[in-house]
Symmetry: C2
Subunit: 488 residues, 2 copies
């Protein structure tokens, strides 16, 4: 008995260990799972289904999805589909083409040496052929791989977008999950800042389409050349650059002493650290120009970007903010981050220029920039603002046979209505009319078709308009062609 | 040198081992990857991008997706989106609601004891928390898990559909891949055969919408109760039933001696094996009734299903065929399989009733049936029949600045056209007009907007209709409101 209990409960028990604590966790006992039995017995009026208790304890499974992951029951799925539809619509307006890659990639694609969080949190393993693979933590490396693979067959510049699930094995704190979906838009092959301006325009278009204003959300922009200029002034070697950026990005999350310690381990002097901290506090381009001068190109890039923002008409959304560095090693130029102006949420989206990523994969140096936009923070924001539209089910008809022997004509009716493009819910079992009306309401069905003996003998069915309550008897042909009758 | 080569090439080298042979494989050398360099250099007229050779050999990555998996470049993605759109449209017509689950699940969800191929080919591993997890090989167990989790909160019957990627670690033969997408429709809580009839109607509706006729595709139906009746006549114990079904399903793939050997290991006598083989050869319900009688309910179920098929109007698509068993352990009643009538492809789709799956997970016994429909075989069939519509990109405008300093007005124009719902490709860099016309053709753009100095000084741009060649100069306001000008 105790050994079968062990077989049944390892996942649940793991959830009780304090360092992995989870607010909503509970041990699922068999009685919890069986809670649906009575309700099912009530619904299954025919009694076709013998209800039996499972006999083997070890068969009881954990009914939750793996820790840190989500199911999408219908209401959550409607929300996700609505969000993804809006991602796609903006991408389409900007003439971007959709792509996708496997959620499982070679681990080598994500192994970088700059100490990024993302590469330390891989969902990685060895497959049965001995290959090191990983669930992708982000989409950009796969994009770079695909560009290299297609090579000459591609017509540059590429304007590509993708929406995909990404995985990180994170400590489960602050409600963070281990998977999320991410919308990416990328422009490959355009060296000029026009590419960044176009991407920012897509972001702002998305926010506006959602009903979000520049009072709610802003986009902070900076350029890694700022940090590079400061570092080279303090003689920090170029090949520490990515690693320094990764550390500096954590400046608001870690104590300053910790940051200084990590930087000094990279050979960054205390003077250089102070120089970095000074530079990061700058919020005006004039001040920036005073500090780093024109050589790095950072000021010119940022000025040009702000001018283009003005031409596109989204200058009220963007702000220069030197503290933006971003945590990915591969950014080389512009970096940006969308944030809620109340400052209560994590970054909504982020991106930048990564002109050297393809080269680090063995390809030619290729100008590229893009952004990632997760599904979690934006939904939090939209919910807070109360601007998610009602996402209702919408059926045209619900069809119910009032007696068992009328199930065949009911099927015929459903099939013919569907063949003319109508959404039809067909009641497949003995249900009371009261149930059917509840179901119709849940589906927001417009009309109910009642198939009863006396009408069917005359070759008709009853059509009931569910908003007015009007009803009339109609032949099947008239029903399908919507002629010779009227309910409203 | 040789050690860095080892670092760079393990994946490529693995592909050369004969037992893992792959028709299209090749060792990617650095020169292959660098093939795009020249073309990029040509395109990047501004010369912003220094082209440099990567210096470290070990940075060269394999540009192919992991063995047995696919990328979706734009043309493949359009095809996938079109197919999925059609899956969704049929599901919507039948008033099914979409759901989804994590692609990564607890391994326990897929571990069954009946010896199915699917449970022997798991992409499984231990995560960093020591949990056994697996990339899902199919969607039904997750569905069952979600139903148990939601329990009383659900309103039965459920009519749910999902489209998701599934993974199997298979030997790479006959072009089979290790991942595919699958469309599932399931009805949970309906004990009667009406549920199967509704699902088959959805399948046929999908085929018809694709332009496939009953000359191209058929659906073989049978019922596991047939095999059960035969087995109980030969005193095969009930708890061998699932395992026997799994073996019998392989009857066309394995030599008969092998089948007989595997069955005898389950205690099935040679007489019982011959009884099974006889029963599987039956193709008429009368003959079936003669053999197994009415007690099992199999004949009644099948008759009722064919009658409903007639009422729905798809009786020409379905055929009783006792050889259909299906390879999943959990089916308990009706089983069916879609096939191409030329017999050259694998099964297009398959499904059946699985009334005991939820109980084996520790839940109440719950009537359920559903089908899975992969993305691979149907696309092969559609390609063979030549009935995939042309899936073109469609842009309304391509906007090009003829000089660098006009890039800002070009951005303004693109933004304003997009704000009124137009799909606009904005040229972001110096490109020749010839290139822009090629690009317009690729995007099937309707009009080109040329922003030139002399027009812009007068506050106008040139609009060129790309089908007629007509052009005229238009102010920005007139362009956006589409007033006071005409090109056609």
């Amino acid at each position: 008995m105790s050994s079968s209990l062990k077989l049944a409960l390892p996942f649940s028990l793991l959830r009780k260990t304090p360092h992995l604590g989870r607010a909503s966790c509970q041990i699922r006992s068999r009685s919890k799972v069986l809670i649906t039995r009575a309700s099912l017995a009530r619904e299954n009026a025919r009694g076709h289904t013998p209800i039996s208790t499972p006999t083997k304890q070890e068969d009881v499974i954990d009914v939750n999805p793996p820790r840190g992951t989500r199911d999408f029951p219908p209401d959550e799925m409607r929300l996700r589909n609505w969000l993804f539809h809006n991602f796609r619509e903006v991408s389409r307006l900007f003439a971007f083409e959709e792509i996708d890659f496997p959620v499982l990639e070679s681990e080598a694609l994500f192994v970088r040496k700059a100490g990024e969080e993302i590469t330390q949190q891989l969902y990685n393993f060895e497959d049965k052929g001995g290959r090191r693979v990983a669930l992708r933590p982000e989409l950009t490396p796969s994009l770079a791989r695909l560009v290299l693979q297609k090579g000459k067959a591609l017509s540059f510049p590429l304007k590509w977008f993708t929406i995909g699930q990404c995985w990180r094995y994170e400590r489960m704190t602050r409600g963070r999950r281990r998977e999320h979906y991410q919308w990416n838009m990328d422009i490959i092959g355009v060296p000029g800042i026009e590419a960044e301006a176009e991407l920012l325009s897509a972001l702002v278009t998305f926010f506006k389409n959602m009903g979000i204003t520049s009072n709610d959300v802003g986009i902070k922009i900076s350029n890694r050349k700022v940090l590079q200029a400061v570092l080279s002034r303090h003689n920090v070697p170029d090949d520490s650059f990515a690693a320094v950026c990764v550390i500096v990005d954590k400046i608001e999350k870690l104590p300053q002493d910790e940051i200084k310690k990590e930087l000094s381990m990279l050979g960054v002097t205390i003077e250089a650290v102070n120089g970095i901290l000074d530079a990061l506090s700058i919020r005006s381009l004039d001040e920036l120009e005073d500090l780093i001068g024109p050589e790095s190109g950072a000021v010119a890039d940022l000025k040009q970007l702000l001018n283009l923002a003005n031409a596109y008409g989204y200058d009220d959304w963007v702000h220069f903010d030197a503290s933006i560095v971003r945590g990915l090693a591969y950014y080389t130029g512009t970096v940006f981050e969308g944030f809620d102006k109340e400052g209560r949420l994590r970054a909504i989206c982020g991106g930048g220029r990564y002109d050297r990523l393809l080269a680090t994969f063995g390809g030619p140096e290729t100008p590229a920039c893009g952004f990632g936009f997760g599904d979690a923070v934006i939904l939090e924001l939209l919910k807070e603002k109360g601007i998610i539209p009602s996402l209702r089910l919408e059926a045209d008809y619900i069809v119910i046979a009032l007696e068992d022997h009328l199930r065949q004509p009911a099927s015929t009716i459903a099939a013919r209505l569907r063949s003319t493009g109508h959404v039809v819910d067909l009641v497949l079992e003995n249900k009371r009319l009261k149930w059917a009306f509840r179901q119709a309401e849940r589906l927001n069905a417009k009309r109910m078709i009642l198939v009863g003996s006396s009408e069917w003998e005359k070759g008709t069915v009853r059509v009931k308009d569910l908003s007015s309550g009007d009803e009339c008897d109609v032949t099947l042909d008239d029903l399908v062609t919507q002629q010779n009758y009227k309910v409203s």
